[in-house]
Subunit: 75 residues, 6 copies
């Protein structure tokens, strides 16, 4: 369905790992709702809703655990 977008969990810096975690959170949504137009419309709604933003931040935190472990915490 989707082309190659995830070939490695390794990143050079923690910040790039954090941004990868954000991408992972968003792409899971894209698998369930493939329409970019609908996702864009929904983004306008949840980006102004505090609870939705907090929930999004939680998903990122979960993925960041994975990415950080994959990079041995950039030690």
């Amino acid at each position: 369905m989707m082309s190659d977008w995830l070939t490695s969990l390794k990143t050079d810096t923690p910040q790039q790992g954090f941004e990868l975690a954000i991408m992972l959170a968003r792409n899971a949504v894209a698998y369930t709702q493939p329409s970019p137009e609908i996702r864009e419309r929904l983004r306008y709604i949840y980006a102004e809703n505090a609870d939705s933003l907090i929930a999004t931040s939680h998903v990122v935190a979960t993925h960041f655990q994975t990415v950080a472990a994959a990079n041995n915490y950039w030690k």
Copy 2:
């Protein structure tokens, strides 16, 4: 109840692991709601609801932790 659908957590690439995580999230739903018709009807609803999509993404993130660990983070 369900035929064989999960014989290994190993995948060749992180992206295949991510897609396995999505399947795990969906199949847990199928065990609780075995009717494909009802699941299809519900999908139309939650695929347009931002909070439902974020919650789905969180489940995928949790499974992706497991799959990534099973593959030693594809190092």
Copy 3:
């Protein structure tokens, strides 16, 4: 209160481990709501509610992490 129902976290296959995770999620509910009649009535409700199904899937994902680790990811 409940008879012996959990003697090991080891399973032969990942799928059996997944089904064990489902049982763990359900049995935690049974400890809080011991009446099978009430649980059956509630199941009819949440099995048709997308957000409830997603939340259930999240609990399964959390238990599957534990079961997978207990089985060394069936490597």
Copy 4:
């Protein structure tokens, strides 16, 4: 505030570990709401609410991860 109630995370069997996880989930509530009468009243409410039961099951799953790790998964 509370007397000694948690001296070890070790249990003889996985089931006892699961029941310890349930106790951990309940006792966290008791620290926030010390009144047994109010907790009993609330239990009547959430024990008949599917989403509350699923949320409770999720807390148990999180504690069970800890207890299982503490017991080396009863291997």
Copy 5:
């Protein structure tokens, strides 16, 4: 903003570790809502709400995982 309140994750007993987890959960709230008066007012509300209490218990469970790991599960 806040004075020194967290110098170590080590505790003598699992119960002290559990109580540290509760403190971690509360202090994260204090960073977001620094007013003790507002927090006190909110506590009256959520301490009588079953779903809020369950959610609080979940946060404690997450921190307890961290504290337990830091103490090698008090083995």
Copy 6:
């Protein structure tokens, strides 16, 4: 999009690690809602909502797991 803000997960003390976890939770929100004005407005709302504060605390707890592991629990 955002300048360098995360170069390491190492901190000198657990408390600094906890404050880093808070920053991680907030910055994930900033990636989704880049407007500081809107975030400030939303903060006034959720900082007086018990359930939002508990949810925020949960995100911090998840990040604190990562930061604590990265610092070998400050042992």
